[in-house]
Protein backbone atom coordinates (compact mmCIF):
# COMPACT_ATOMS: atom_id res chain seq x y z
CA UNK A 1 0.00 0.00 0.00
CA UNK A 2 1.35 3.37 -0.95
CA UNK A 3 1.29 6.44 1.22
CA UNK A 4 -0.66 8.27 -1.50
CA UNK A 5 -3.75 6.23 -0.74
CA UNK A 6 -4.25 8.36 2.33
CA UNK A 7 -4.79 11.28 -0.05
CA UNK A 8 -7.88 9.74 -1.57
CA UNK A 9 -10.66 12.09 -0.39
CA UNK A 10 -12.86 9.30 0.96
CA UNK A 11 -10.02 7.66 2.87
CA UNK A 12 -8.80 11.08 3.97
CA UNK A 13 -12.19 11.82 5.47
CA UNK A 14 -12.09 8.45 7.19
CA UNK A 15 -8.74 8.71 8.93
CA UNK A 16 -8.75 12.45 9.51
CA UNK A 17 -12.12 12.15 11.24
CA UNK A 18 -10.49 9.85 13.76
CA UNK A 19 -7.29 11.84 14.08
CA UNK A 20 -8.76 15.33 14.52
CA UNK A 21 -10.23 14.86 18.02
CA UNK A 22 -7.03 13.27 19.32
CA UNK A 23 -4.78 15.95 17.85
CA UNK A 24 -7.06 18.75 19.03
CA UNK A 25 -7.10 17.50 22.60
CA UNK A 26 -3.35 16.95 22.58
CA UNK A 27 -2.79 20.44 21.18
CA UNK A 28 -4.98 21.92 23.90
CA UNK A 29 -3.15 19.96 26.61
CA UNK A 30 0.33 20.87 25.35
CA UNK A 31 -0.47 24.56 24.93
CA UNK A 32 -2.21 24.74 28.31
CA UNK A 33 0.61 22.94 30.11
CA UNK A 34 3.29 24.97 28.33
CA UNK A 35 1.60 28.31 28.98
CA UNK A 36 0.73 27.63 32.61
CA UNK A 37 4.22 26.26 33.21
CA UNK A 38 5.76 29.23 31.46
CA UNK A 39 3.54 31.87 33.00
CA UNK A 40 3.41 30.71 36.61
CA UNK A 41 6.17 28.17 37.27
CA UNK A 42 9.18 29.60 35.47
CA UNK A 43 11.30 32.43 36.85
CA UNK A 44 11.48 35.94 35.41
CA UNK A 45 14.48 36.76 33.32
CA UNK A 46 17.04 38.85 35.19
CA UNK A 47 17.21 41.45 32.44
CA UNK A 48 13.79 41.31 30.86
CA UNK A 49 11.63 40.71 33.92
CA UNK A 50 8.22 39.21 33.29
CA UNK A 51 8.16 40.29 29.66
CA UNK A 52 10.19 37.19 28.87
CA UNK A 53 6.96 35.23 29.16
CA UNK A 54 5.86 36.54 25.77
CA UNK A 55 8.39 34.11 24.34
CA UNK A 56 5.96 31.22 24.91
CA UNK A 57 3.61 32.65 22.29
CA UNK A 58 5.96 34.70 20.16
CA UNK A 59 8.49 32.03 19.23
CA UNK A 60 6.03 29.19 18.44
CA UNK A 61 3.83 31.42 16.29
CA UNK A 62 6.85 32.81 14.44
CA UNK A 63 8.16 29.31 13.80
CA UNK A 64 4.77 28.18 12.59
CA UNK A 65 4.42 31.22 10.33
CA UNK A 66 7.50 30.14 8.40
CA UNK A 67 6.85 26.41 8.54
CA UNK A 68 3.28 26.79 7.32
CA UNK A 69 4.60 28.46 4.19
CA UNK A 70 6.98 25.54 3.71
CA UNK A 71 4.09 23.12 4.21
CA UNK A 72 2.08 25.05 1.61
CA UNK A 73 5.03 24.83 -0.76
CA UNK A 74 5.26 21.06 -0.31
CA UNK A 75 1.51 20.62 -0.69
CA UNK A 76 1.56 22.77 -3.83
CA UNK A 77 4.36 20.70 -5.29
CA UNK A 78 2.44 17.51 -4.58
CA UNK A 79 -0.57 19.01 -6.33
CA UNK A 80 1.58 20.02 -9.27
CA UNK A 81 3.18 16.61 -9.64
CA UNK A 82 0.50 14.16 -8.58
CA UNK A 83 -2.74 16.15 -8.92
CA UNK A 84 -4.11 15.11 -5.53
CA UNK A 85 -7.00 17.43 -4.84
CA UNK A 86 -6.69 16.98 -1.11
CA UNK A 87 -3.17 18.35 -1.32
CA UNK A 88 -4.28 21.55 -3.04
CA UNK A 89 -7.10 21.93 -0.54
CA UNK A 90 -4.67 21.45 2.35
CA UNK A 91 -2.50 24.26 0.98
CA UNK A 92 -5.60 26.43 0.70
CA UNK A 93 -6.64 25.52 4.22
CA UNK A 94 -3.21 26.28 5.66
CA UNK A 95 -2.85 29.80 4.26
CA UNK A 96 -5.27 31.66 6.57
CA UNK A 97 -3.72 29.89 9.56
CA UNK A 98 -0.38 31.18 8.34
CA UNK A 99 -1.79 34.69 8.13
CA UNK A 100 -2.98 34.49 11.73
CA UNK A 101 0.32 33.03 12.97
CA UNK A 102 2.31 35.77 11.23
CA UNK A 103 0.01 38.38 12.73
CA UNK A 104 0.36 36.88 16.21
CA UNK A 105 4.14 36.85 15.86
CA UNK A 106 4.16 40.47 14.71
CA UNK A 107 1.80 41.68 17.44
CA UNK A 108 3.44 39.82 20.31
CA UNK A 109 6.78 41.02 18.96
CA UNK A 110 5.55 44.61 19.04
CA UNK A 111 4.26 44.19 22.59
CA UNK A 112 7.61 42.74 23.56
CA UNK A 113 9.58 45.35 21.68
CA UNK A 114 7.87 48.23 23.45
CA UNK A 115 9.41 47.67 26.91
CA UNK A 116 12.64 46.08 25.64
CA UNK A 117 13.69 48.27 22.72
CA UNK A 118 11.52 51.26 23.61
CA UNK A 119 9.65 51.04 20.35
CA UNK A 120 6.72 49.11 18.94
CA UNK A 121 8.27 48.73 15.58
CA UNK A 122 11.76 48.96 14.13
CA UNK A 123 12.77 48.31 10.54
CA UNK A 124 14.87 45.41 11.67
CA UNK A 125 15.57 42.64 9.12
CA UNK A 126 13.63 39.98 10.98
CA UNK A 127 10.64 42.21 11.60
CA UNK A 128 10.66 43.48 8.05
CA UNK A 129 10.91 40.01 6.54
CA UNK A 130 7.95 38.95 8.63
CA UNK A 131 5.94 41.87 7.39
CA UNK A 132 6.82 40.90 3.82
CA UNK A 133 5.90 37.28 4.55
CA UNK A 134 2.56 38.58 5.79
CA UNK A 135 2.03 40.38 2.47
CA UNK A 136 2.88 37.18 0.59
CA UNK A 137 0.28 35.30 2.61
CA UNK A 138 -2.31 37.98 1.89
CA UNK A 139 -1.64 37.80 -1.85
CA UNK A 140 -1.90 34.02 -1.79
CA UNK A 141 -5.19 34.02 0.11
CA UNK A 142 -6.57 36.78 -2.13
CA UNK A 143 -5.72 34.82 -5.27
CA UNK A 144 -7.51 31.74 -3.93
CA UNK A 145 -10.53 33.86 -3.12
CA UNK A 146 -10.61 35.63 -6.49
CA UNK A 147 -10.74 32.65 -8.85
CA UNK A 148 -13.96 30.71 -9.17
CA UNK A 149 -12.89 27.51 -10.91
CA UNK A 150 -11.24 25.43 -8.16
CA UNK A 151 -8.73 23.66 -10.42
CA UNK A 152 -7.63 26.90 -12.05
CA UNK A 153 -7.27 28.45 -8.61
CA UNK A 154 -5.21 25.52 -7.38
CA UNK A 155 -2.89 25.70 -10.38
CA UNK A 156 -2.40 29.46 -10.27
CA UNK A 157 -1.86 29.59 -6.51
CA UNK A 158 0.66 26.79 -6.89
CA UNK A 159 2.63 28.83 -9.40
CA UNK A 160 2.36 31.85 -7.11
CA UNK A 161 3.53 29.80 -4.13
CA UNK A 162 6.60 28.55 -6.00
CA UNK A 163 7.61 31.96 -7.31
CA UNK A 164 6.67 33.58 -4.01
CA UNK A 165 8.94 31.21 -2.09
CA UNK A 166 11.91 32.21 -4.21
CA UNK A 167 11.14 35.88 -3.77
CA UNK A 168 10.45 35.48 -0.06
CA UNK A 169 13.94 34.05 0.40
CA UNK A 170 15.38 36.79 -1.80
CA UNK A 171 13.59 39.44 0.24
CA UNK A 172 14.93 37.92 3.41
CA UNK A 173 18.52 38.41 2.26
CA UNK A 174 17.82 41.74 0.58
CA UNK A 175 16.43 43.03 3.86
CA UNK A 176 19.50 41.80 5.71
CA UNK A 177 21.58 43.77 3.28
CA UNK A 178 19.40 46.83 3.72
CA UNK A 179 19.44 47.30 7.46
CA UNK A 180 21.24 45.91 10.45
CA UNK A 181 19.31 44.20 13.16
CA UNK A 182 18.01 44.83 16.63
CA UNK A 183 16.41 41.43 16.99
CA UNK A 184 18.49 38.73 18.64
CA UNK A 185 19.70 35.76 16.62
CA UNK A 186 18.38 32.25 16.78
CA UNK A 187 17.62 31.17 20.33
CA UNK A 188 16.71 27.54 19.76
CA UNK A 189 19.30 26.11 17.38
CA UNK A 190 20.63 22.72 18.39
CA UNK A 191 24.31 23.39 17.93
CA UNK A 192 24.81 26.74 19.63
CA UNK A 193 25.81 27.72 23.10
CA UNK A 194 23.68 30.85 23.26
CA UNK A 195 20.35 29.08 23.55
CA UNK A 196 17.82 30.16 26.09
CA UNK A 197 18.33 28.68 29.53
CA UNK A 198 16.73 25.35 30.39
CA UNK A 199 14.11 26.85 32.70
CA UNK A 200 12.68 28.73 29.72
CA UNK A 201 13.50 26.06 27.19
CA UNK A 202 11.28 23.22 28.46
CA UNK A 203 7.99 25.14 28.63
CA UNK A 204 8.88 26.78 25.32
CA UNK A 205 9.34 23.44 23.59
CA UNK A 206 6.05 22.30 25.11
CA UNK A 207 4.17 25.24 23.61
CA UNK A 208 5.95 24.75 20.29
CA UNK A 209 4.75 21.15 20.17
CA UNK A 210 1.31 22.43 21.14
CA UNK A 211 1.31 24.97 18.31
CA UNK A 212 2.37 22.34 15.79
CA UNK A 213 -0.43 20.04 16.93
CA UNK A 214 -2.85 22.95 16.85
CA UNK A 215 -1.84 23.68 13.28
CA UNK A 216 -2.27 20.04 12.26
CA UNK A 217 -5.70 19.94 13.85
CA UNK A 218 -6.78 23.21 12.21
CA UNK A 219 -5.50 22.17 8.80
CA UNK A 220 -7.30 18.84 9.00
CA UNK A 221 -10.53 20.49 10.10
CA UNK A 222 -10.34 23.14 7.40
CA UNK A 223 -9.43 20.59 4.71
CA UNK A 224 -12.38 18.46 5.78
CA UNK A 225 -14.62 21.49 5.46
CA UNK A 226 -13.27 22.19 1.98
CA UNK A 227 -13.85 18.61 0.91
CA UNK A 228 -17.37 18.68 2.26
CA UNK A 229 -18.04 22.00 0.51
CA UNK A 230 -16.81 20.55 -2.74
CA UNK A 231 -18.85 17.40 -2.24
CA UNK A 232 -21.91 19.52 -1.59
CA UNK A 233 -21.31 21.48 -4.78
CA UNK A 234 -21.03 18.25 -6.74
CA UNK A 235 -24.26 16.94 -5.23
CA UNK A 236 -26.10 20.16 -6.06
CA UNK A 237 -24.79 20.09 -9.62
CA UNK A 238 -25.92 16.48 -9.97
CA UNK A 239 -29.37 17.40 -8.71
CA UNK A 240 -29.68 20.21 -11.22
CA UNK A 241 -28.62 17.90 -14.02
CA UNK A 242 -31.39 15.62 -13.46
Amino acid sequence: MSIWEFANPRRFMGWSGKVVPVVSVLAGVFIAVGLIWGFFFSPDDYRMGSTVKIIYIHVPSAMMAINIWVMMLVASLIWLVRRHHVSALAAKAAAPIGVVMTLIALITGAIWGQPMWGTWWAWDPRLTSFLILFLFYLGYVALWAAIENPDTAADLTTVLCLVGSVFAVLSRYAVLFWNQGLHQGASLSLDKEENVADVFWFPLVTTIVGFILLFVALVLIRTRTEIRARHLKALLARERMG
Binding site: L135, A146, L156, V163
Partner: protein
Protein backbone atom coordinates in the same frame (compact mmCIF):
# COMPACT_ATOMS: atom_id res chain seq x y z
CA UNK B 1 8.68 37.04 -32.37
CA UNK B 2 10.04 40.28 -33.73
CA UNK B 3 6.77 40.85 -35.51
CA UNK B 4 4.95 40.32 -32.23
CA UNK B 5 7.23 42.84 -30.58
CA UNK B 6 6.60 45.41 -33.30
CA UNK B 7 2.88 44.79 -33.09
CA UNK B 8 2.86 45.28 -29.33
CA UNK B 9 4.92 48.43 -29.56
CA UNK B 10 2.65 49.82 -32.25
CA UNK B 11 -0.43 49.02 -30.22
CA UNK B 12 1.05 50.70 -27.16
CA UNK B 13 1.90 53.82 -29.15
CA UNK B 14 -1.38 54.16 -31.03
CA UNK B 15 -3.93 52.92 -28.54
CA UNK B 16 -3.09 55.91 -26.37
CA UNK B 17 -2.82 55.83 -22.64
CA UNK B 18 -0.15 53.26 -21.80
CA UNK B 19 2.83 55.02 -23.23
CA UNK B 20 2.37 58.58 -21.99
CA UNK B 21 0.32 57.71 -18.95
CA UNK B 22 3.11 55.99 -17.06
CA UNK B 23 5.44 58.92 -17.68
CA UNK B 24 2.81 61.45 -16.63
CA UNK B 25 2.12 59.46 -13.49
CA UNK B 26 5.84 59.36 -12.69
CA UNK B 27 6.01 63.13 -13.16
CA UNK B 28 3.02 63.76 -10.92
CA UNK B 29 4.26 61.50 -8.13
CA UNK B 30 7.64 63.24 -8.08
CA UNK B 31 6.02 66.66 -8.16
CA UNK B 32 3.71 65.78 -5.29
CA UNK B 33 6.52 64.65 -3.00
CA UNK B 34 7.89 68.15 -2.24
CA UNK B 35 4.35 69.25 -1.44
CA UNK B 36 4.16 66.39 1.03
CA UNK B 37 7.53 66.70 2.76
CA UNK B 38 8.44 70.35 2.22
CA UNK B 39 10.81 72.05 -0.22
CA UNK B 40 14.13 71.96 1.74
CA UNK B 41 16.83 70.92 -0.76
CA UNK B 42 18.85 68.88 1.78
CA UNK B 43 15.85 66.75 2.69
CA UNK B 44 14.83 66.28 -0.94
CA UNK B 45 18.37 65.40 -1.95
CA UNK B 46 18.47 62.72 0.71
CA UNK B 47 15.21 61.04 -0.29
CA UNK B 48 15.43 61.71 -4.04
CA UNK B 49 16.81 58.27 -5.09
CA UNK B 50 14.14 56.47 -3.10
CA UNK B 51 11.33 58.67 -4.40
CA UNK B 52 12.43 58.30 -8.00
CA UNK B 53 12.68 54.54 -7.66
CA UNK B 54 9.32 54.30 -5.94
CA UNK B 55 7.72 56.55 -8.56
CA UNK B 56 9.15 54.44 -11.38
CA UNK B 57 7.92 51.28 -9.66
CA UNK B 58 4.39 52.61 -9.26
CA UNK B 59 4.31 53.94 -12.81
CA UNK B 60 5.38 50.47 -13.96
CA UNK B 61 2.62 48.89 -11.89
CA UNK B 62 0.02 51.14 -13.46
CA UNK B 63 0.36 49.69 -16.94
CA UNK B 64 0.85 46.02 -15.99
CA UNK B 65 -2.69 44.84 -16.53
CA UNK B 66 -2.47 45.97 -20.15
CA UNK B 67 0.22 43.41 -20.94
CA UNK B 68 -2.17 40.50 -21.45
CA UNK B 69 -5.66 41.80 -20.68
CA UNK B 70 -6.53 43.30 -24.09
CA UNK B 71 -5.14 40.30 -25.96
CA UNK B 72 -7.06 37.99 -23.66
CA UNK B 73 -10.32 39.84 -24.23
CA UNK B 74 -10.19 39.99 -28.03
CA UNK B 75 -8.90 36.44 -28.34
CA UNK B 76 -5.46 37.15 -29.78
CA UNK B 77 -3.93 35.42 -26.79
CA UNK B 78 -5.65 32.20 -27.88
CA UNK B 79 -4.19 32.66 -31.34
CA UNK B 80 -0.75 33.24 -29.86
CA UNK B 81 -1.14 30.10 -27.75
CA UNK B 82 -1.71 28.03 -30.90
CA UNK B 83 0.99 29.86 -32.87
CA UNK B 84 4.28 28.10 -33.59
CA UNK B 85 6.26 30.24 -31.12
CA UNK B 86 6.25 28.89 -27.55
CA UNK B 87 4.22 30.65 -24.87
CA UNK B 88 7.42 31.39 -22.94
CA UNK B 89 8.65 33.38 -25.93
CA UNK B 90 5.37 35.29 -26.15
CA UNK B 91 5.63 36.21 -22.48
CA UNK B 92 9.23 37.33 -22.81
CA UNK B 93 8.45 39.44 -25.87
CA UNK B 94 5.47 41.03 -24.19
CA UNK B 95 7.53 41.84 -21.12
CA UNK B 96 10.18 43.33 -23.39
CA UNK B 97 7.54 45.45 -25.14
CA UNK B 98 6.26 46.60 -21.75
CA UNK B 99 9.78 47.54 -20.73
CA UNK B 100 10.41 49.45 -23.97
CA UNK B 101 7.20 51.43 -23.54
CA UNK B 102 7.42 51.95 -19.76
CA UNK B 103 10.75 51.11 -18.17
CA UNK B 104 12.95 52.72 -20.79
CA UNK B 105 11.10 56.08 -20.94
CA UNK B 106 11.01 56.14 -17.13
CA UNK B 107 14.75 55.56 -17.00
CA UNK B 108 15.37 58.35 -19.47
CA UNK B 109 13.00 60.73 -17.69
CA UNK B 110 14.40 60.03 -14.22
CA UNK B 111 17.42 62.42 -14.42
CA UNK B 112 15.13 65.29 -15.44
CA UNK B 113 12.95 64.67 -12.43
CA UNK B 114 16.11 64.26 -10.37
CA UNK B 115 16.76 67.94 -10.99
CA UNK B 116 13.38 68.78 -9.51
CA UNK B 117 14.31 66.83 -6.36
CA UNK B 118 17.81 68.37 -6.26
CA UNK B 119 19.53 65.02 -6.60
CA UNK B 120 23.27 65.41 -5.89
CA UNK B 121 25.58 65.52 -8.92
CA UNK B 122 27.25 62.09 -8.78
CA UNK B 123 23.87 60.43 -8.33
CA UNK B 124 22.57 60.88 -11.88
CA UNK B 125 24.68 58.24 -13.54
CA UNK B 126 24.02 55.67 -10.83
CA UNK B 127 20.31 56.44 -10.83
CA UNK B 128 19.99 55.91 -14.58
CA UNK B 129 22.17 52.81 -14.43
CA UNK B 130 20.24 51.27 -11.55
CA UNK B 131 16.90 52.01 -13.22
CA UNK B 132 18.13 50.66 -16.54
CA UNK B 133 19.21 47.43 -14.85
CA UNK B 134 16.23 47.17 -12.50
CA UNK B 135 13.19 48.09 -14.58
CA UNK B 136 13.46 44.96 -16.79
CA UNK B 137 12.98 42.93 -13.61
CA UNK B 138 9.94 45.05 -12.76
CA UNK B 139 8.46 44.41 -16.20
CA UNK B 140 9.18 40.68 -16.06
CA UNK B 141 7.79 40.21 -12.54
CA UNK B 142 4.83 42.33 -13.55
CA UNK B 143 4.23 40.18 -16.61
CA UNK B 144 4.14 37.16 -14.30
CA UNK B 145 1.58 38.86 -12.06
CA UNK B 146 -0.46 39.90 -15.09
CA UNK B 147 -0.38 36.32 -16.36
CA UNK B 148 -1.75 35.09 -13.03
CA UNK B 149 -4.66 37.51 -13.00
CA UNK B 150 -5.46 37.68 -16.72
CA UNK B 151 -8.64 35.64 -16.45
CA UNK B 152 -10.15 37.72 -13.67
CA UNK B 153 -12.80 40.36 -14.12
CA UNK B 154 -11.42 42.81 -11.58
CA UNK B 155 -7.81 41.76 -11.53
CA UNK B 156 -6.23 45.20 -11.18
CA UNK B 157 -6.18 45.55 -7.43
CA UNK B 158 -5.30 41.91 -6.88
CA UNK B 159 -2.47 42.32 -9.37
CA UNK B 160 -0.95 45.08 -7.21
CA UNK B 161 -1.31 42.96 -4.09
CA UNK B 162 0.46 40.04 -5.76
CA UNK B 163 3.18 41.98 -7.51
CA UNK B 164 4.23 44.53 -4.89
CA UNK B 165 5.72 42.00 -2.43
CA UNK B 166 7.63 40.47 -5.34
CA UNK B 167 9.10 43.90 -6.07
CA UNK B 168 10.71 44.19 -2.63
CA UNK B 169 14.21 42.82 -3.41
CA UNK B 170 14.52 44.81 -6.64
CA UNK B 171 13.42 47.99 -4.91
CA UNK B 172 15.80 47.49 -2.00
CA UNK B 173 18.86 46.91 -4.17
CA UNK B 174 17.86 49.57 -6.70
CA UNK B 175 17.38 52.38 -4.19
CA UNK B 176 20.46 51.25 -2.31
CA UNK B 177 22.56 51.51 -5.45
CA UNK B 178 21.09 54.89 -6.36
CA UNK B 179 21.49 56.20 -2.81
CA UNK B 180 25.07 55.07 -2.47
CA UNK B 181 25.80 56.59 -5.86
CA UNK B 182 24.24 59.89 -4.81
CA UNK B 183 26.29 59.95 -1.62
CA UNK B 184 29.47 59.18 -3.52
CA UNK B 185 29.94 55.72 -2.02
CA UNK B 186 30.72 52.67 -4.07
CA UNK B 187 27.47 51.29 -5.44
CA UNK B 188 28.82 48.20 -7.16
CA UNK B 189 27.57 45.55 -4.74
CA UNK B 190 23.84 46.39 -4.69
CA UNK B 191 23.98 47.06 -8.40
CA UNK B 192 25.39 43.61 -9.11
CA UNK B 193 22.90 41.93 -6.78
CA UNK B 194 20.08 43.73 -8.53
CA UNK B 195 21.41 42.78 -11.94
CA UNK B 196 21.44 39.20 -10.68
CA UNK B 197 17.77 39.45 -9.73
CA UNK B 198 16.97 40.91 -13.14
CA UNK B 199 18.80 38.15 -14.98
CA UNK B 200 17.22 35.48 -12.80
CA UNK B 201 13.77 36.93 -13.37
CA UNK B 202 14.29 37.07 -17.14
CA UNK B 203 15.61 33.51 -17.17
CA UNK B 204 12.98 31.84 -14.98
CA UNK B 205 9.79 33.86 -14.80
CA UNK B 206 8.74 33.40 -18.46
CA UNK B 207 8.22 29.71 -17.66
CA UNK B 208 6.09 30.47 -14.61
CA UNK B 209 4.12 33.14 -16.48
CA UNK B 210 3.57 30.88 -19.48
CA UNK B 211 2.33 28.12 -17.18
CA UNK B 212 -0.11 30.57 -15.59
CA UNK B 213 -1.38 31.72 -18.99
CA UNK B 214 -1.89 28.14 -20.14
CA UNK B 215 -3.95 27.50 -17.01
CA UNK B 216 -5.96 30.66 -17.63
CA UNK B 217 -6.65 29.76 -21.26
CA UNK B 218 -7.80 26.25 -20.37
Amino acid sequence: MIRLLVRDLRLAMRAGGGFGLGLAFFLIVTVLVPFGVGPQPELLARIAPGILWLGALLACLLSLDRIFQLDFEDGSLDLLATAPIPMEGVVAVKALAHWLTTGLPLTLAAPVLGVLLSLPGPGYGWLVLSLALGTPALSMIGAFGAALTVGLKRGGLLLSLLVLPLYVPTLIFGTEAARRGAEGLSAGTPLMLMAGITLGAIALLPFAAAAAIRVNLR
